[in-house]
Symmetry: C2
C-alpha cells in the first residue's frame, strides 16, 4: 500500500483509477518497461486485485490508450469565435501540453506501438487497436478543422492539405520529443504558419483552393499569426540587404 | 511451370529471381493476400522449391522489403548540378514512380506493415525489420538533402524542417494512393514548394535559418519552381481584386 488511503471503491471507480495510474506510468516510460507489479503498487492494491479488474497488462494498456485518445481528440475542440489563426494556435498549445505530459508513451505509440514480445500474438491485437485509435483522433482533428473553415464538401486538395498537415503536426511533435532542442512555443506558432503555408502552396496553383483560402482568411487581423507570416515571407523573398 | 523457360539457375540467381517475383506481387496487392503458391506459380517453380530458397513467406517478404528500400533510397540520389528546386523535383518524380509501381505494398508497409495473423510472433519480427528499413530510407533521404544544401552541421531547426518534410512526402503519397484524385505531377511540384514553404516559415522567425535559406536559394532562377512560388504567394497575399 503506497497511498495510505484505504476505502472500498466501486468496480467502475476502481477500473477508472487503475486506468489513470496506468496511463500515468505508460506516459512517462515506454509501455513495455512498465510492469503490472508497478501499476499495482502505484495504485496501492495487490497484483491479484489488478487482475481482478483487467485480465492482463495488455487490456489495461488498451484502456489507457482509449482514455488518452479521447483526451487528445477533445483538445481539437475549440469555440468557433475569433480569428482562425488564433483558434489553431490554442489547439496547438493544448496538443503540445498533451505531448509534453505523455512524451515517451506518445513516442512509443506513434512509432508503431510498444513491443510486448512475451505476448506477441495479443500485442498484434493491441497494435491494431492502437492504429484504430490513432486514426480516430486524426479523423476527429480533420472534422474539427473543416468545421472551423465552414467547409462541408471539401475538394480533394483541401482534404490533402488538412490531412497532410495533421501528419506534419505528429512528426514535428515526435522530432521535438527527441531532445527538445527547440522551444515548444516556437513550434506551436510554426505549425499554425505551416498550415497557412501548405494551404497557400496548394492555392497558388488552384482557383478553388485560392477562393477557399481567401474566404477563410478574410477575418484574420493583420497582426495575427497569419497576417504576421505573410509580412515576414514577403520580407524573406525580397533581395537581402548588402 | 508457367514461364516455359527451363534452365538451371544458380542459387543466388534463383533467390534474386524469387525476390523480384515476390516484390512484384507484394506491390500490387496487400502482402497478406499473396500466397507462396502464387509466388511459386509466377516464378514457374514448385512450392517446395520456393521453400528450398526461403524458409517461409515472411523471409521472402523481408528480402523483398530490403530490395524495395534500397531501390527507394537510391531515388534520392541526384547529381549536385543545377538549381536545387529542379533537383528536388526530379527526386519527387522518381519517388512517385516508385509509389505508383508499388502502391498497395507501399500503403500496407507505411501503415504499420501487413498483418500475418497465422504467424503473429514472427510477423512482429517483420514489423520491426520493416520499421528499421523505413527508418533507413528516411535517413538516406535526410543525408542527401543536407548534402545538396551543402550543410554539414545542421542546426536543430533545419533538421526539423527536412525530417518533417520527409514525413509530409510520405503522408502526401499515402493520401494520393487512396483514390488518386489529384494528378501526381501536381503533387510532385507541390511537395517541392512545400519544402520551400516549410523552410521559409522556419526562417521567418530565425536568423540562422534565414541565412541558410538565402544561401541555398541563391542559385535559383526566377522562373524555377522556387522563384515561381514566391511570386504566386505574394499575389495571394495581396488584396483580392473586386
Amino acid at each position: 500500500m503506497t497511498t495510505g488511503v484505504r476505502r472500498r471503491m466501486g468496480v467502475e471507480e476502481r477500473r477508472q483509477q487503475l486506468i489513470g495510474v496506468a496511463l500515468e506510468l505508460f506516459s512517462r516510460r515506454s509501455p513495455d518497461e512498465v510492469s503490472i507489479d508497478e501499476i499495482a503498487s502505484a495504485a496501492g492494491i495487490s497484483r491479484p486485485l489488478v487482475y481482478h479488474y483487467f485480465p492482463g497488462k495488455l487490456s489495461l494498456y488498451e484502456a489507457a490508450l482509449q482514455r488518452a485518445s479521447e483526451d487528445l481528440a477533445s483538445r481539437f475542440v475549440e469555440p468557433h469565435e475569433g480569428p482562425l489563426g488564433e483558434r489553431l494556435l490554442r489547439v496547438m498549445r493544448r496538443f503540445f501540453d498533451f505531448v509534453d505530459d505523455h512524451g515517451p508513451g506518445f513516442a512509443a505509440l506513434m512509432r508503431g506501438g510498444p513491443a510486448v514480445p512475451a505476448d506477441a500474438v495479443r500485442s498484434m491485437g493491441a497494435a491494431s487497436t492502437a492504429t484504430a485509435l490513432i486514426d480516430g483522433v486524426r479523423q476527429a482533428a480533420y472534422v474539427q478543422i473543416l468545421a472551423h473553415m465552414k467547409v462541408e464538401n471539401p475538394p480533394a486538395r483541401l482534404e490533402l492539405v488538412i490531412r497532410s498537415w495533421i501528419s506534419l503536426v505528429e512528426s514535428t511533435a515526435l522530432i521535438w520529443l527527441d531532445g527538445r532542442r527547440i522551444p515548444r512555443g516556437e513550434l506551436e506558432v510554426q505549425l499554425v504558419h505551416d498550415f497557412a503555408a501548405l494551404a497557400a502552396v496548394s492555392a497558388a496553383y488552384d482557383e478553388e483552393m485560392s477562393a477557399l483560402l481567401r474566404g477563410s482568411l478574410q477575418g484574420e487581423p493583420g497582426d495575427g499569426p497569419f497576417g504576421d507570416l505573410v509580412v515576414r515571407l514577403i520580407a524573406l523573398a525580397s533581395p537581402p540587404e548588402a
